[in-house]
Assembly symmetry: C2
Homo-oligomer: 306 residues x 2
Amino acid sequence: MDQRIELRHLRYFLALAEELHFGRAAQRLHIAQPALSQQIRQLEKIVGVELFRRTSRSVHLTEAGAAFQPRARNVLDRLAADLDEAGRVGRGEAGRLDVAFITSATAIVSEHLREFSRRRPDVQVKLHDGFTTDVLAALERGTADVGIVRDAEERDDIDLSLLASERFVAVIPTEHPAARCDHVEARVLAADPLILFPRSAGTHAFDMNTQPLRNAGIDVQVAQECSNWHTIIMFVAAGLGVTIAPYSVTTLLPAGARRLELDGPPTVSRIFMATRRGDDRPLLQAFKAASESMTGRDRDRTTRVR
Amino acid sequence: MDQRIELRHLRYFLALAEELHFGRAAQRLHIAQPALSQQIRQLEKIVGVELFRRTSRSVHLTEAGAAFQPRARNVLDRLAADLDEAGRVGRGEAGRLDVAFITSATAIVSEHLREFSRRRPDVQVKLHDGFTTDVLAALERGTADVGIVRDAEERDDIDLSLLASERFVAVIPTEHPAARCDHVEARVLAADPLILFPRSAGTHAFDMNTQPLRNAGIDVQVAQECSNWHTIIMFVAAGLGVTIAPYSVTTLLPAGARRLELDGPPTVSRIFMATRRGDDRPLLQAFKAASESMTGRDRDRTTRVR
DNA sequence: GCTGATCCATAGTTTGAGCTTATTGATTGA
DNA sequence: TCAATCAATAAGCTCAAACTATGGATCAGC
């Protein structure tokens, strides 16, 4: 009585609408003619109107049938495309990947993304930048699938894999007495006001970043906190103080700032890819594979520890 | 093995995607839980990827499932809308109606169409204007569903129903001697060049149109043929001759032309709605009903035979 | 740590929707 | 008038989707 429509009805309808002959349409569908008659009748009952006008001699579409034909075709085509798309998403060939990253790793992130997008052109990548803590939080709550962080600590719910490491360098105003040389001992900077990001943005990263100073026996006191490296370096250029920074954020310096290599035991900043432990979705593995192929290069290129 | 997808799969998938609980989803679908498990498994086999990740404790969508959910919803919604639309077309509540009409009946056609469009706002009306013969040809070959013709003859494959009738009048140049009066005997015009449409545009219409002249014993000779009334009347205004025209095409006359009532036995031009005999589609009946409601008015308004 | 509850999967059985073949009835062309 | 064509109907069959019962895994509570 209250029969539900099924795709079978649409397939049969379309075959008959094209053949306009029950016998031939049934043949094409690999069923017997009465079965087709029954199903078409059933469909007409569901729609509530005649879709074909039959005489015992000919079959043709009614207006309602003619109106329905392209729509039915469309439904089948779209569903086929949707199934395909779902399959591709399941195999990691399409979909969406949320990448959270620290702003200071933009250069490396963009390189890895370029390689990934080349391999998976149908994957839409969404980017979210922030501090290391923000990135890890996004990863935890599922807002991000991949995190790019700097100097994160080991955790049992997060997998880390090294993408690149780079040395720390000092950045000081050009008018600073030490700026005449191209390297400096950390202790020389003990009296200068230190400009750095807040420790809350990533305690371990902060500790790594200040290690050259602590190695020199300096009691680290941040005179001015800034949320991003660009601002920190602008402040240094303005003569407000000095900073210790990962090399890659110092590649382009404004006129008033100068980069100095740090003497003493080498200290490096490490950039990691972070993922949720146990998250083994194909898309993620594809991203890891793409990164893997880049990592060797990056490591060689940016490390250069003295 | 090579199972085909059915809408049942989509319905079950969507229920489970919303409930995320096999028991509850099955309950909502009024089936037992194992049946749902089976069908979902089958769907996953068809798509080729997991759509749900199940633990014995919880169910949640995979990325592929999440991607598929809105699409499946969409397919069902669109199909429902398509079925509804087909039903409405079948009941004559929506669709398309092709109306062919003679240019000289534009005024009446537009009135009837306004009424029809008010009653069937979802029906798209396509208009085609031409001569009576063109209109009838369009009707025959199915290009038009309704024809509006003037003074057509009875035919056994076409149904005619009277929409309006109107008297013939003479149109002559203002400088014509007879133009001083507001009526004229047809024989007075015997010597004037006659401007009229070609007889091939509608033999019966032509004969009706020239009847006032033939009644007066005039041997009808068309001096100048024109394809439409507007041009004919412009030629009259230019002093090139006279014409006999249905009243409604003379409502707006240019400066050089004057309308005169014809003395003698009244002759009328009839405007008919023409349809293919046996064509009883709901949309057509709706159009006929709309016309019916207008016809009384039109007949009264335009006849006024003296 | 055992017990009961919860929940999805599997096994085996039942049922009915959709299929089949055979036939009827209507129309057309020879 | 007869044969051919073609859709509808009738009656029986069959398999897929349903059912019931059960298993196995996980979790909460005493």
